[in-house]
Amino acid sequence: MSIALPASTTRGAASRRVVVLVAIWVVLILVPFWLPLLGGYTALAGRILVFALGAMGLNLLLGFTGVLSFGHAAYFGLGAYGAGLTLKYVAASTPLAMLAGTLLGGLAGTLFGALIIRRRGVYFAMCTIAFAQLWYYLAYSWNDFTGGFDGLRGFHREPIGFGPLTLDIAPSGNAFYYFLLGVFAVAVTLMGILIRSPFGHSLRAIRENERRARFLGIPVERQIWLSFSISCFFTALAGALYALLNNFADPLTLHYEQSGYFVVMTVMGGMRTFWGPLVGAIVFVALQDYISSMTVNWMSFVGAIFILVVLFFPRGILGMRWRRGES
């Protein structure tokens, strides 16, 4: 499949993109040095990275395929519970926990995706909400196994051994932040490759005009299903990291409010841009952290953020640039 590259790959744009990429990674790598100066703490940065990864996973579907899932909390939370349950009941191994969490969330998404792939628009969204709430209900009521409303406790992340070397990520210091950043970098690189691949182009073709994509011979249902599944795997990985970050799996990570947070992060940052969800996660998590420490009426403020973004800022922060119709 040969699809013409977008016009932005001229030399000037390419070098500008390199500059932006380098800037993003330098800022992320130096977080432990500049964040405390602003009054933040490194664990906050870890949370931002995790939510950003979850939202970027969602954006693969929402921004690049044009399919609205309002239930990604399910895969995020399943990732968290998968990791937590593995550490607690199976083996004290961080990589195994990450693998188990990612597989649990990703496979649940793959199976459910097959059921709803012919739905579109709000109906698709509604099915994803209801399915997500099923897992919330399950985690909430299966007290003996999942800890019920109090969440799953009694596990903690373990140092990772590489042959003779050991990466001690157990204390919540900079080592764990860099571990998160490493996983984030690998996942984001994979996403970038995927989006630039012919598969990624076919997803955007479906987003722009589903009927035309179908006439071009793109197997629309299969591509959407794949996109949904891959998106769930990435979000589940983020969930597994979230359980490691907190040494705790919270049933609220499965609640539809969490799904809403992912969607608002994505839209706020710019849902048709690659880095939009990262920017959205930074702004949203920082605002939420700040507001909830200032007032008990934080719900009003968070709700107002949703409304303001929709009414006055629908393209998102990074989306201001694609006014010319470029994705």
């Binding site: 709803i116 739905r119 969204a125 209801a130 399950l138 608002v264 719900m299 709700g303 629908p314």
Partner: protein
């Protein structure tokens, strides 16, 4: 023993009646405007709280009538100010908007009426049990079910026999054609939204006497209402009615046998329907 079962079943049926009222309102808005109203449960709570506040002045019966109408008016304001701007945009925007609105409304209710549950009283006449054997079935429960049935029949009669109802049904099928035939679809959508909120408000007043008022009282009803719509089939109001009744009765019967699984049954029904009949029990092929 039979009394325990009967007690659980009537509880379940009453909850089911609330599901149906909520789901019908949601479904009306969804079918015509393509908007999932996440704040629907908050309109329900609003209806209940308004009735609580109005009751000392208007009495129970006055509050029962005025409060849903006020809820509908607030719905009209919300629709005019925010939701109508999003009609022809990506559905993600209307979903996010009503989601944020749900947060704001819930927090406002907490701010105005306080976080603690408030009891809503109703006339002594309705507090009596219908007989000494069935002491757990008060007249209030009978009354609630009667109101729910009446309002559902009223809604269907309205849609079937009035001109506006006809336009709403036609708009559900093909809004563009209806618009080109000279119908003001902006007014139609606003009116339709108001009818949905009216039903939520009514459900709220009734629920206030049964469940007691709390800022998030609608949340527990919201997801089952979504499931009622999915099970019944999107685009079909009759489907929503049957979907709501089905999950209500199934939950009630499960409550009689094994109470802690009553919610699980609702999700199980949804999964089975999605597996064997993905468009829902009465959904039409080709829609969504």
């Amino acid at each position: 023993m039979t009394q325990v079962i009967l007690y659980n079943v009537t509880n379940g049926l009453i909850i089911g009646a609330f599901y149906v009222l909520m789901a019908l309102g949601l479904s009306l808005i969804l079918n015509l405007s393509n908007v999932i109203n996440f704040a629907h449960g908050n309109f329900l709570a609003l209806g209940g709280y308004l009735a609580f506040t109005l009751q000392p002045r208007l009495g129970y019966w006055g509050a029962l009538i005025v409060s849903p109408i006020l809820t509908a008016l607030i719905g009209v304001i919300v629709e005019q100010l925010m939701i109508r701007r999003l009609y022809n945009r990506d559905p993600v925007y209307s979903l996010l908007l009503t989601f944020g609105l749900a947060f704001v409304l819930q927090d406002s209710a907490r701010y105005v009426w306080g976080p603690n549950p408030l009891p809503m009283s109703f006339p002594d006449l309705l507090a009596q049990p219908i007989s000494s054997e069935l002491f757990f079935i008060t007249w209030y429960r009978v009354f609630m079910v009667a109101i729910v049935i009446t309002s559902i029949l009223g809604l269907f009669a309205f849609l079937r026999y009035t001109r506006v109802g006809l336009r709403i049904r036609a708009g559900t099928l093909d809004l563009e054609t209806v618009s080109s035939l000279g119908v003001n679809i902006h007014m139609l959508r606003t009116f339709n939204f108001a009818v949905g909120c009216l039903m939520a408000g009514l459900a709220g007043v009734l629920a206030a006497g049964q469940l007691s008022l709390s800022p998030n009282m609608g949340d527990e009803l919201l997801l089952p209402s979504f499931i009622a719509i999915i099970v019944g089939g999107v685009g079909s109001l009759v489907g929503t009615l049957f979907g709501g009744l089905l999950i209500g009765v199934a939950a009630a019967l499960t409550t009689a046998v094994y109470p802690s699984a009553s919610e699980a049954v609702i999700y199980a029904i949804m999964m089975i329907v999605l597996l064997i009949r993905p468009r829902g029990l009465m959904g039409e092929e080709g829609r969504a």
